[in-house]
């Protein structure tokens, strides 16, 4: 029983690997489904923004409120904006955004492609002279890759505004001073790795959602399972990528 589960896991990993290779093989060859890519960008970008924005705002606010007592205990209350902004931009916002997207986009793609698979829509596309891999998978993965960094940037901005409100709850500070403090502490090596990281988050979320959807079996029951396992796997992989990103940044001493 145990060995069967292990075999399944290994098989799935191998399949995902082959799926990823297929993505790179087909993703950069014409023909490019530009109009579908734009549609997917709209669904992944605009439709996820409200959720990501609200979460970002709350995270900024909460992290500030939670950090305030300990900063005060060290007598470093005036450092609160810079400390909070660095932790928001470097880690909290990219990861929270990625997790939200893993939940929303990952499950959405998994369920959509899963139901297309079981109702033969993917076969129908193939018959209609469309490469379903290009039309469905490549567009979605690219859309997720392009949109995630943008979502992270907007979420950064919203979270920093949330942090500003959080700081102002305990002390009065002008927006100008606040932004000065933030930008005096933030560096390129805080912002750029987090944005590069979110490219990979987007890729992982997209490819895992598509993989799970594309390999759906067992009818409608399988669709639910595909959506669910897409979220679980994407969430897990987001953390793995985050760990790897931290280590790589450490190796190149981008600290």
């Amino acid at each position: 029983m145990k060995s069967k589960a292990l075999t399944n896991l290994l098989k799935e990993t191998a399949d995902l690997y082959l799926f990823t290779i297929r993505f790179f093989k087909e993703g950069f060859k014409p023909r490019f489904e530009v109009s579908e890519l734009i549609n997917q960008c709209f669904y992944i970008g605009n439709k996820t923004l409200p959720l990501v924005g609200i979460t970002g705002f709350i995270m900024g606010l909460v992290i500030t409120i939670q950090s305030h007592p300990s900063m005060k205990a060290f007598g470093a209350e005036s450092w609160l904006p810079s400390v909070v902004s660095v932790s928001l931009v470097r880690e909290i916002v990219p990861v929270i955004t990625a997790l939200i997207c893993a939940g929303k986009i990952g499950s959405g793609i998994g369920a959509e492609l899963g139901s297309m698979k079981v109702t033969e829509q993917i076969d129908a596309m193939e018959v209609s002279g469309t490469n379903p891999f290009k039309y469905l998978v490549v567009t979605r993965v690219f859309a997720a890759m392009l949109m995630l960094p943008l979502l992270v940037i907007l979420s950064d901005a919203i979270a920093l505004y949330g942090a500003y409100i959080g700081v102002n709850m305990k002390q009065v500070i002008s927006f100008q001073l606040y932004s000065n403090q933030i930008f005096s502490k933030l560096t390129f090596s805080d912002v750029l790795p987090s944005i590069i990281k979110s490219f990979f988050f987007g890729f992982a979320i997209g490819i895992i959602g598509c993989f799970k959807g594309f390999s759906t079996k067992n009818g409608t029951q399988g669709v639910g399972r595909a959506a669910n396992s897409a979220v679980v796997a994407a969430t897990f992989v987001v953390f793995i990528i985050d760990l790897m990103a931290a280590q790589i940044a450490d190796i190149f001493s981008i600290t």
Binding site: I38, N39, C41, F42, G45, N46, L49, P149, L150, L151, I153, L154, D156, A157, S179, F183, S184, L186, T187, F188, V191, I195
Partner: protein, 321 residues
Amino acid sequence: MKEQTLNRAKLGAFVLIATTFLIVGLYFIGSKKNIFHSSISVSANFSNIGGLIQGNNVRFNGINVGVVSKVYPIADTAIKVEFTIDQSSTKYISSDATVSIGTDGLLGNKLVNISPGKKKSKQIEEGNLLISTRPIQIDSELRTITTTNNNLKVITDNLKDVSEKLNNNNSLWQLLTDTRVADNIRKAIVTFKLTGENTAVITGNLSKFVTDIKAGKGTIGALLTDTSITEKLSQTIININSISDTMAIISGDFKTFSKKLNNKNSTLSTLLSDTAFVHNLNSSIINIKDGADNFNKNMEALKHSWPLKKYFKQQKKSKQN
């Protein structure tokens, strides 16, 4: 079809806003790093840079004028620090300005401080090598204060040891003959001296430091912009002063005491000729007497009875009688 066009417009807005945020954010971060400003590059040599790294700020009279661009050793005792200075600030900095390494706040990042030159000499130029000075290292001062505190603790322990021995009723003579005690006292005095010296050095440094800050001298004044820290520091210095005063008195006493102990010819007589000591001894003896009396009473109680209640009953009875 209409809906699709609208969606595309929304997507466009989304992408534009996000990109604008990114560009503006990067601009603000970059403006600090001098990437988008024209600047000149100068350098200075230090014997120890205390953890200064690439990217640390360069300040002139307390305002940021540049960043450290490179740090590398050029000899076994020399580190070259290259840094940039904004073009707009160069006209206020003369080529004989001095450079030191400081700290942002009490525990903040390292930074390079540029102090204005003494003479009216020509303006700083690309590639100039500036004179470096060794600044007061606030963290090493703090370390010395800790050592002093530790020494004080050792002394207190020694003193406690001595006084315990003095209080111990039957060992006055032992005290006078015990070489270990004498050793301890000697050690205590040595430590005391050391502490006193250290304290003097620190006090000197710190008071100079504080005076500088109060006088508002640029380099150090920039370090400590928070006045509360300055006040705390002066309080510390006053405390250290008073401690060292007390130390001097105590160590003086002990010096004479130990001298007398070390004089083997007439240990006891000299000791007894010291009236203050005799007075102390007297009171000690009285204490000892009291102690002995109490001890005797206790012994009596033990002798008389088991359990103690009985003894007290008897006492009561005898009193009544």
